[in-house]
Symmetry: C2
């Protein structure tokens, strides 16, 4: 591979051949995902760098793995054998914030939370808030169609993308999507790139639709001896016509891990907890009403206790507790042999009760692992975590089996293997199980139409269709 | 063409060869759109009828024009030479309303308003409300990504589609989209079919995401001597963080036509009018606040009068007036030589002021036609209507020139040629002007991947890319 040729086309210092640096850039946060040996790393400083890299890759038929902040959980950003890693993390400028159109244009490397902060002074908001909000980039959020805690009311990344500038496999550049709030001129190709995990092109600029700043929410928690009652509360509460801005679930195991990680004031010994917020769309009265409805419903569903606070500091602490479930799990894993596999099934809300019961069955069948469960209950998006001693073969085998059993259960209940974390490397065999043969064939035809040499992130999402 | 073969595969009576009936089914509401001679009409009664028709069409390489209620304004449903017209209008069952998941499944022929009515008793809503809400079908709404009056707050058809069952060109059937509220398993192929105007497949079932019933809105109107001041009011009002559930514009010519059509209580002699609604997300207090903000902003922008009503009957009359702009224009056209061409440009909100001024220029340059203007001001989606005597050659030429000049102006101001009416036959040359060569090529590659024989609605949307 004539890397000199490539270096000559790139910004100074963009081509990296140092093996240590390449090693760092060769993987995301997924466990059990193959990491190949990359030929080189391009840290693109400009659109031109991205184009030059893809022209070179096309000319020499070299695989390219596009990367954002590498915080993914499915191995989508991992190196494949002999590839060029193409990082757009350095392209991190907020290009424009347009208060009249209520849009912004950003480069892909902008960190989600940095954008949120920048918008505050304009009274505007970009709602999507994946767990990785503080460290993941907008480009990666778009490439994986990231979700988060706000989705139950505010939707996912896809819902905020007005248009994308993308570089295709052969280095050509174009803008897809709409210039305006509404638009139906041609096929909506931007939606094809959202969630495509680097398999169809490289996103180099994103125009997002924004909304007025979100009002401060009220927060309530409900504690349940039985997880199943939390599930019923979710369904009954949503059926009242409530529009909570957050509706999160933590099981007892998750709560214990969080309490072990830090003091967020959570009680112990509970079966499950719901954390709900309402911002009443700017009406405090309406928010209070929704919290009262929640309290009534939870009590009717056998809640042990419902606590409702108007103090913003309390709210922040409770949300921080919910967000701590990730690092708390990591700490638990580090203290117990290092193994952790995070599921991401999304099921119909009405099936959550059954899901909880059957998850207990999976726990019983896999005694060498510990399975916690937390998730975005309002959307039925569950993140069971399988913890295990990675040094013990039997535990590792059971962990992989339990991880799979949870996906199989998700599909059986009419759900999907992945609500927001993506397919990447980790779930590619499962994608083939979820999609029917006609849809699988359509995926391959579209991939072939847009990336005929198959150089973009090969062997990942579409790898076994 | 061995139509007997086809008839044998279809439900009894589904194949129609009567020329009069075929004639009726050969066109939608567009003017100046070519109408070809269809070989036959299939009125599908089932999914199997749709599959049989497409298998037959593939075997014999016959073009197929899928049709819903044929209320489109761009000729997308018009017959092409020698085609099979494939109407799904008779497939009009509401398959399921699921109150726990807040979804419904419908066949494509269900009329939008019928669905809305059916949902009322469940306390649920499907917001999209194109002007044709009473006569257009959900399948057609999805195939054209229909908009409407509520979009400024509630978005367009695309935002409510959870999944689609589609029959492909070769008769194969599959479901695309997500089974659940969230889902990222593979490419989001449902979004490719939404707005594809029958060029990629035939939609035979739709699962829609619903929301809790919309609260009753308050309504205000503001009257302006100068259209430009209405444009400023829209921008300034939206910049306050307002979230109106409707924000509509009528120019003086449109108001005059409406007054000529019926008594809706609109004043005459005004330059322009804005019609705004707020439902305050269920808080009357919040709705009143937004109406007060609107009043303040409109007065600061030189409104002659702002009238704000809490009486639902007044609201309904005003919205009825706005909705009457279509039939009122039709009446005017019928009384003045029959010619009417409806533009559908969508521009950045901040460019509306300039758009209004430059539209006056287009009027001056085309003295043989009358141009009214109305539209969804909150989204910048404008529907200038060009009226002309279709029996007078010079008037017809000027009408076509003015229609084009408006699209050119829309593009020049950073907008799109079509915000919600679609491309169809009428704007296919313009689609080629709006899209860049790389995006055009992508369209053709995807079309070729999914419909390799090119039998689906040929010569329409993608016809000149």
């Amino acid at each position: 591979m004539p890397l000199d040729e490539l270096a000559a086309e790139l910004s100074a210092g963009a081509l990296v051949t140092d093996r240590d640096v390449i090693g760092t850039y060769s993987k995301d946060w997924a466990l059990f995902s193959h990491v190949g040996e990359a030929a080189a790393l391009v840290r693109a400083a400009s659109v031109e760098d991205v184009q030059a890299t893809l022209r070179f890759a096309t000319a020499h038929r070299i695989p390219v793995v596009p990367q954002g902040a590498r915080t993914g959980l499915s191995g989508g950003a991992n190196a494949v054998e002999g590839c060029l890693l193409l990082s757009v993390a350095k392209m991190n400028e907020i290009v424009e914030i347009n208060t009249v159109e209520q849009t912004c244009a950003v480069q892909p490397g902008v960190i989600n939370q940095d954008l949120k902060k920048a918008l505050t002074q304009y009274g505007l908001a970009y709602p999507p808030d994946p767990g990785s909000v503080a460290i993941s980039s907008i480009g990666g959020n778009v490439a994986t169609n990231a979700g988060g805690l706000c989705c139950v009311k505010y939707g996912v990344t896809r819902d905020y993308v007005r248009n994308l500038t993308v570089v295709l496999a052969d280095g050509q550049i174009t803008r897809v999507g709409r210039p305006t709030r509404k638009g139906v001129a041609g096929l909506e190709l931007s939606q094809l790139f959202i969630g495509s995990e680097g398999t169809l092109g490289v996103i180099v600029e994103i125009t997002l639709d924004l909304i007025p700043a979100l009002p401060d929410p009220l927060t309530a928690i409900a504690l349940f001896p039985e997880a199943a009652d939390a599930a019923s509360t979710v369904c009954d509460f949503m059926a009242t016509g409530a529009r909570p801005s957050m509706l999160e679930y933590l099981d007892g195991t998750s709560i214990d891990m969080i309490n072990d990680y830090g003091d967020f004031g959570l009680p112990s010994g509970m079966g499950a907890m719901l954390l709900v917020q309402s911002n009443g769309d700017g009406s405090l009265e309406h928010a209070i009403e929704e919290m009262e409805t929640f309290t009534r419903v939870a009590n009717a569903c056998n809640a042990a206790e419902v606590v409702f606070s108007e103090d913003p500091a309390d709210s922040e602490l409770l949300v921080a507790a919910r967000r701590a479930v990730g690092p708390a799990g990591e700490k638990y894993a580090n203290d117990h042999g290092g193994g952790e596999l995070i599921d991401d099934v999304c099921i119909p809300r009405g099936k959550m009760r059954e899901f909880f019961t059957r998850l207990d069955g999976i726990r019983a069948e896999h005694p060498h692992v510990l399975i916690s469960n937390a998730g975005h209950a309002g959307d039925g998006n569950m993140h069971p975590c399988v913890f295990f001693d990675a040094g013990v073969e039997e535990a590792t085998e059971q962990a992989l089996a339990a991880f799979d059993a949870i996906m199989a259960l998700g599909l059986e209940l009419g759900g999907t293997i992945t609500g927001e974390h993506g397919v990447g490397y980790l779930k590619k065999e499962w994608l083939a199980r979820e999609l029917d043969p006609v849809t699988r064939a359509m995926h391959l035809k579209i991939k072939d139409a847009l990336d005929p040499l198959g150089i973009l992130n090969p062997g990942k999402m579409l790898g076994v269709l």
